[in-house]
């Protein structure tokens, strides 16, 4: 499948570069390290990429077989509204993740890991650029009164704390977050992009394949360092241990689940998008597949850990030992179950969807005392994260929901706000990102 490359009109291109100078100042370093870490790879291009050769008829939903829309006015109003929400949310995640990575990516202990994250950040910038292209290259007036310039302005003004999805409002506490985020949160991104590849809005569908190709590397930039870390942990010479990795996985897994949208079994979340031809899976279906996939990822990491811990064992014997320890929740042959990576129950530490502000334990056990539940949840989270406004807000809301002071639906709508909640460009020479 070949692809076309497109550049934004000058004012929007400049706005993205202006944003990059403020929010991603390390971007120029990518060109400096490119030949060393990505030799022979095509140079990075800050542009929109559009795939050729995709289906031009609707592939799923009520209008299957009809021509795909090429402009928002061609869509049913309901579909156009949902689509615009998808694009804005996607844009928010792309720019938001760069802001998160920026805080800690310099702390990488391995120059290759750092270069990989730098490339991930640049490609997220390109994905944000792609979303801005979608917002500015057509007429959205049938759907919204907001002008393209104002939509872009709103997106570029968001900061960690004011993004659409909770996963993009959490600060990174160390480079462990850069890596675990790539393995868990970029994986949700892969699911969203894959589902949207069938979008009945052709310009959105054709944006997906080039993004997915880049997203595949982002997942590797998370998984491969994790594989090395668990091996080092098994050898006893790790700078990051299994406990820290497991807690970081818990932090991001719980927020990642919420990125699928309303996942309550009886909510029918995402069915409208499927009916309208915008996605090919409901929220719960996609989330089930995601949980299975991250489960496989942790199995692979644990098996790598066991192989490194017991190099005397054959592959089959090491795999059998891992299975016994996992199933028995015990220790054997120097491998402790408590050392291994594992996922919490999908309802654990949730602020939206299935289990939101309910007292579910890590293994699906129920609590009836909010304080005991909060202490239990906190014991499974990274130390630095426990002290954050995010965990504080969740604990306060849990208490308030169970005391009856706050209705569950209001708790679900609430979001912890950081001090930085967005606004105009901080550059003294401009008050807007987009100067039109």
């Amino acid at each position: 499948m070949s692809e076309k490359r497109l550049e934004l009109p000058r004012e929007y291109h400049e706005a993205v570069l202006h944003w990059q100078r403020h929010s991603f100042p390390d971007y120029p370093k990518l060109a400096e390290v490119w030949d060393r870490y990505f030799p022979r790879d095509e140079p990075f291009c800050l542009c929109a990429k559009v795939a050729d050769g995709m289906s031009d008829v609707i592939e799923i939903g009520d209008l299957i077989g009809e021509p795909k829309a090429t402009k928002p006015a061609d869509l049913r109003p309901e579909a156009a509204r949902i689509l615009l929400g998808q694009i804005r949310a996607q844009a928010s995640t792309e720019f938001g993740s760069i802001q998160q990575h920026t805080g800690t990516f310099q702390r990488a202990s391995d120059p290759q890991d750092q270069a990989w994250v730098l490339r991930v950040m640049a490609e997220e910038l390109r994905h944000g650029y792609q979303m801005i292209h979608l917002l500015t290259s057509t007429d959205w007036s049938p759907v919204t009164d907001t002008t393209p310039a104002d939509m872009v302005e709103e997106i570029l003004s968001m900061q960690t704390g004011s993004h659409v999805l909770a996963a993009f409002n959490l600060e990174f506490d160390s480079f462990t977050d850069n890596v675990v985020f790539a393995a868990f949160i970029d994986r949700v991104g892969k699911y969203q992009l894959t589902m949207q590849k069938v979008s009945s809005y052709a310009p959105y569908a054709t944006s997906m394949p080039p993004m997915l190709k880049e997203e595949a590397f982002h997942l590797a930039a998370g998984v491969v360092p994790l594989r090395r870390w668990v091996e080092a942990a098994a050898r006893g010479d790790a700078l990051v241990g299994m406990d820290a990795i497991r807690k970081a996985c818990t932090k991001w897994f719980c927020r990642g689940l919420e990125m699928f949208g309303d996942d309550r079994p009886d909510s029918h979340g995402g069915e409208d998008s499927v009916r309208l031809g915008l996605k090919d899976m409901t929220n719960r279906q996609a989330q089930d597949a995601y949980i299975a996939e991250v489960g496989q990822m942790l199995d692979d990491l644990n098996e790598r850990y066991v192989r490194a811990k017991r190099p005397d064992l054959s592959r089959d014997d090491a795999a059998a030992l891992y299975e016994r320890v996992k199933q028995g929740r015990s220790g054997e042959g120097g491998v402790e179950w408590t050392d291994l990576l594992r996922l919490p129950d999908r309802r654990f530490f949730r602020r939206r969807g299935d289990g939101a502000f309910q007292m579910w334990g890590f293994d699906g056990e129920r609590f009836d005392d909010p304080e005991k539940c909060i202490a239990h949840v906190a014991s499974h989270l990274p130390e630095a994260y426990r002290a954050s406004v995010d965990v504080r807000h969740w604990a306060d809301m849990l208490r308030n929901v169970h005391s009856g002071e706050v209705a569950l639906k209001d708790a679900i709508k609430s979001m912890p706000r950081l001090a930085r909640v967005g606004g105009p460009c901080p550059c003294s020479r401009s008050v807007r990102w987009v100067s039109v």
Binding site: A216, F217, R304
Partner: protein, 145 residues
């Protein structure tokens, strides 16, 4: 056993490929396959293929389209690494992997595919010939250092 499925490689196949390689060579080399898998994913994530049966990787084929090497200017689909689990051989896994990768090479504009085989690897040589490969008008040269 379910039918073998050919699909694109992902980063979660590192363990499966390492296992197939270990069953073929007797060597456990996860770090080698981590680097190789990341290389092919970042170069062209749609190119490398794996064969999966009942959720387990039973074969893989890694390659990409490049041009300009060895004075060969035309886009060439290079097959660089492949392996089939000994327990899955004889069931068409290698053929299906090759067909999938060659289809991808064609979609990328390549009109020829090339690879190299060590003289001692008679089994691989026979497999590739069965897939339609022929000796190329090229000579592999080497010099000990």
């Amino acid at each position: 056993m379910s039918e073998v499925r050919i699909r694109d490689l992902t980063e979660l196949d590192i363990d499966g490929i390492t296992r197939v390689d270990e069953r073929i060579t007797g060597r456990y080399r996860p770090e080698v396959w981590e680097q190789r898998v990341v290389y092919y994913i970042r170069r062209d994530a749609d190119a490398p293929k794996v064969a999966e049966q009942d959720g387990t990787v039973v074969g893989f084929m890694l390659g990409e389209v490049r041009g300009g090497e060895f004075g060969l200017d035309e886009p060439t689909g290079w097959i660089e690494f492949f392996g089939v689990d000994p327990g899955a051989r004889g069931s068409g896994v290698g053929r299906r992997l090759t067909e999938a990768l060659l289809d991808h090479f064609r979609s990328r504009g390549a009109r020829i595919t090339r690879t190299m085989v060590a003289t001692r690897d008679r089994e691989i040589d026979a497999f590739l010939r069965a897939m339609g490969f022929k000796p190329a008008p090229l000579t592999a040269l080497e010099k000990p250092l």
